[in-house]
Amino acid sequence: MSAPSLAPYIMKRPWLHKWVAPLAKWYGNAAGYRQLGLRADDILPEENDVVQLALKRLPPKEAYDRVFRIRRAFQCSVSHQLLPKEEWTKVEDDTPYLTNIIKEIQVEMAEREDLEAMVITKRAANDASAKSAH
């Protein structure tokens, strides 16, 4: 669902994190979606099975809020306006509510793939040779 990310690499190194964080903050605000009241997870491409399934698994309240935010942003976009400043998405509200579910689904799918590709060797006979086989 997502492009390769440097984030884990950076997060592991505090000095690098300290250096990049202000840049990331600036970029997040400059991207413009917060001014339309959206969250980062609202603008993930959803035209694939994984995200569709994740959307189905959203709790009803969150699914409703998501649709509301998207429709509001759509209206703003159509009328070439931004929301009033107090309605912009706050940084602390910009949480990955959907990414968590997507990751879970990806883990599930990866596990299935792995199990499909498993090479099965017959269990060694239950005698002394079993011990030496391992």
């Binding site: 599930e108 299935r112 792995d114 199990l115 239950n126 011990k131």
Partner: protein, 459 residues
């Protein structure tokens, strides 16, 4: 890709253990050290019973006192049943399935009125793997909302549909609810969509699981496993299970009382008629009456021998060969229901119902030949012993006996009790049936099916 060591961990472990202790493995030809009797014990607070007879396979079951009788909200038992063997903290659903497939095992979960049973059948050497799996299912199943919606709910819905399409099932459930009202009277499947539209959620099922899988509320029963082995693995793998339920649920725990009554349900598919009377509790319970089993087989209805209508009274008295009659002595931990279920063409069902009551009156009056009586006694004894040998039934009764009354179901003693039944006790049992209120349920063409009053029964 999974390395072999993770994917077949259980298999490997089982193999290794067998290799270390080859003397504990017994080939097919060796004589059985165990007997028909269950040995019971307690390890780490978990009750277990085992019966070791020769054979390369084992049946292991976790019997929890969480059947429909004990559910505090409708549908909880079914929900819990379908959550069995789903993702746990350590393994996903898929992995449990694949690992079991690799070991060649069978997993199933079902419920009765009193018990929820998780069952696994596998090769003898895999015992540790399955004890561990059961420990995990009981302690750390994840009750996720999306699993409930995607996998559990459709199953409950199917069970509901199946129930509505089966008049016999409806009639038997209706007779139970007439006889016992709440508790044992709870239907075994959803009778309406209420349970899952109104009461059931993943959270509620999780809450109920903490009660159902608390140590005092379940027992492990194994067939074809060594007692010492089972004891060892049980004490090792059941640490995550709560020592006592966080909250005592009292629903269904009070002594069952018999009420009786009549219910008529229109159904356009087929006809079913059930006449029920207070019966006998299980052998491990307080109200065990062996004469009820003999009376049940005397009334009978189904033949156990090919090309013959059988010796039983109803087998001979039924109105047409196409009419199906069966008398069952349903036994529960503290009560029972002796019922005759009749299905078939409405007119014939009505006639057969009438002759059922007449036959019970005849038994009460003592107009039954000695020969028939001894046949019934032999059939009852055979059925009881055969039932005990049958692994599934033995497991449920033993587990339920361990949890409710702290003793295993000992089949030999049940057979002895049936030997002690005399003609006189059966006669007085039949008499007492007619004196009490019956539970009569008619499902189908209500224009034809008779009322209990017409049959001469008290309701």
């Amino acid at each position: 890709m999974f390395s072999r060591s993770t994917a077949c961990r259980g298999a490997q472990r089982a193999a290794r253990q067998a290799a270390v202790r080859p003397s504990q493995r017994r080939g097919l030809a060796a004589p059985a050290s165990g007997s028909f009797q269950y040995q019971s014990g307690e390890a780490n607070g978990v009750k277990y019973a085992s019966r070791d007879y020769a054979g390369p396979t084992t049946t292991l079951a976790l019997v929890a006192k969480a059947g429909t009788r004990y559910q505090s909200l409708p549908g909880l038992t079914e929900g819990l049943q379908h959550f069995a063997f789903r993702s746990t903290e350590r393994r996903s659903t898929l992995r449990i399935v694949r690992e079991s497939e690799l070991l060649g095992a069978q997993l199933s979960a079902y419920h009765t009125r009193e018990n929820l049973v998780l069952e696994a059948k596998f090769l003898r050497d895999d015992l540790p793997y399955y004890v561990e799996l059961f420990g995990e299912v009981a302690a750390s199943t994840k009750y996720l909302p999306h699993v409930y919606l995607e996998e559990v709910l459709p199953m409950i819905h199917f069970a509901h549909k199946r129930f509505l399409a089966d008049p016999l099932d409806m009639a038997i459930n209706s007779a139970h609810s007439l006889a016992f009202h709440r508790g044992l009277g709870n239907p075994t499947a959803s009778t309406s969509s209420h349970p899952y539209t109104k009461y059931l959620e993943a959270d509620t099922i999780e809450w109920y699981s903490q009660f159902a899988y608390a140590k005092p509320n379940f027992a492990l029963v194994a067939n074809g496993a060594e007692h010492s082995e089972l004891s060892k693995w049980t004490s090792e793998f059941f640490n995550g299970v709560p020592d006592k339920p966080a909250e005592q649920i009292l629903a269904g725990t009070e002594q069952t009382k018999y009420y009786g009554g009549e219910e008529r349900i229109a159904h356009d598919k087929a006809n079913a008629f059930v006449i029920g009377f207070p019966g006998s509790s299980s052998f491990t319970g307080k109200f065990y009456k062996p004469e009820i089993a003999v009376l049940g087989s005397l009334l009978g209805g189904e033949s156990s021998i090919k090309w013959s209508s059988g010796f039983s009274l109803l087998g001979n008295a039924k109105a047409s060969p196409g009419t199906k009659v069966k008398t069952t002595s349903a036994i529960y931990s503290d009560a029972g229901l002796l019922y005759t279920a009749i299905t078939g063409n409405a007119e014939y069902v009505a006639q057969t119902a009438k002759s059922t009551v007449e036959l019970i009156q005849k038994i009460a009056a003592g107009e039954i030949s000695q020969e028939l009586f001894s046949k019934a006694k032999a059939a009852a004894k055979f059925k009881e012993l055969e039932y005990g040998q049958d692994i599934a039934a033995g497991i449920v009764y033993t587990g339920s006996g361990l949890v409710s009354n702290n003793q295993a179901y000992q089949i030999d003693e049940v057979a002895k009790a049936i030997d002690g039944v005399t003609e006189e006790t059966v006669k007085s049992a039949a008499k007492s049936l007619l004196e009490q209120k019956a539970s009569v349920s008619a499902v189908g063409d209500l224009h034809v099916l008779p009322f209990a009053e017409d049959l001469g029964l008290k309701v």
